[in-house]
Amino acid sequence: MQIPFTVAPRPDTGVNNAKLGVWLFLASEVMLFGGLFSAYIFLRIGAPEWPGMVGGHAYERASDILNVPLATLNTMVLIGSSVTMVMSWASLAMQRFDRYRLYMGATIALGFVFLVVKAFEYGEKFSHGYLPAENNFLAIYFVLTGLHGLHVIGGILVNMYFMWPGARMWKTDPKRFTNRIEIAGLYWHFVDLVWIFLFPTIYLL
């Protein structure tokens, strides 16, 4: 049976079901990250010092413990991947499947770069024995960045599907495939958007 309104907008909502579905999902994601952000805020307000005692030293700024240059690099990487993602959709909209491949490949590669940089960052913390159990600052740092990292992994998997096996749809139903890339892009941009707030609040303040 054909799923209705995968591309054509529903008359009552004005958008297709896939788009409305992903926006509903993103609304739930706002609450998920929002809940954890509020946990961060209240842990921080309630703490006499922030980040406080880590590894026997009292720190006054998160940037003394966390690697700001690496996180800045990752911010640029994620912003760059958002551009390549939207360009992959625009390429399909301009009937340029060859360029789509290029931009989607770049998006996947940048996603991996983000994870590798994150792995270096985590490795640096672990080598000093800075684990989530150390204090509230490190606990919420690992929870927020870890959950965000899982979202990046999920996005990479979806993008890899559309890069290879899922790309066959371009030959059979190009309109629906273009729509799928737009939907996948909405999720990827949301992951970028979360990082835009995570970076200053955790690393710089």
Binding site: V15, L20, F42, I79, A93, Q95, G185, I196
Partner: protein, 107 residues
């Protein structure tokens, strides 16, 4: 016309906007980091950081996620989720104050 209902020319215009947004996001990231290194007192640092982050998030949502040209129902959904988020912050803040500030973290 392309498969998205936009003409190729329209998409090309979009692409120029995407490049402008990309440049703006990169510049704003640098500004965020520079302000971070200035070691301002907490309150102004917080205001500047959140202001820049909100502008960046707005650019991503408006242009990369196409909210500027999106249907009303999607925009309502976004406002609803942001409203619920603020409500959650407000309820937790009221609870926090009601419990006597930091004491709720005493256990």
């Amino acid at each position: 016309m392309s498969d998205t209902g936009h003409s190729i020319e329209e998409i090309k215009k979009h692409v120029r906007v995407y490049m402008f947004v990309f440049a703006s996001l990169a510049v704003l990231t640098v500004v965020t980091v520079v302000v971070g290194y200035l070691e301002l007192p907490f309150a102004p640092a917080l205001i500047v950081a959140l202001l820049i982050a909100t502008v960046k998030a707005g650019l991503v949502a408006a242009y990369f996620m196409h909210l500027v040209s999106e249907e009303q129902i999607v925009r309502w959904l976004v406002w609803l989720s942001l409203g619920l988020l603020l409500a959650m912050f407000a309820i937790l803040s009221v609870y926090y104050v009601d419990q006597g500030g930091t004491e709720i973290f005493g256990f």
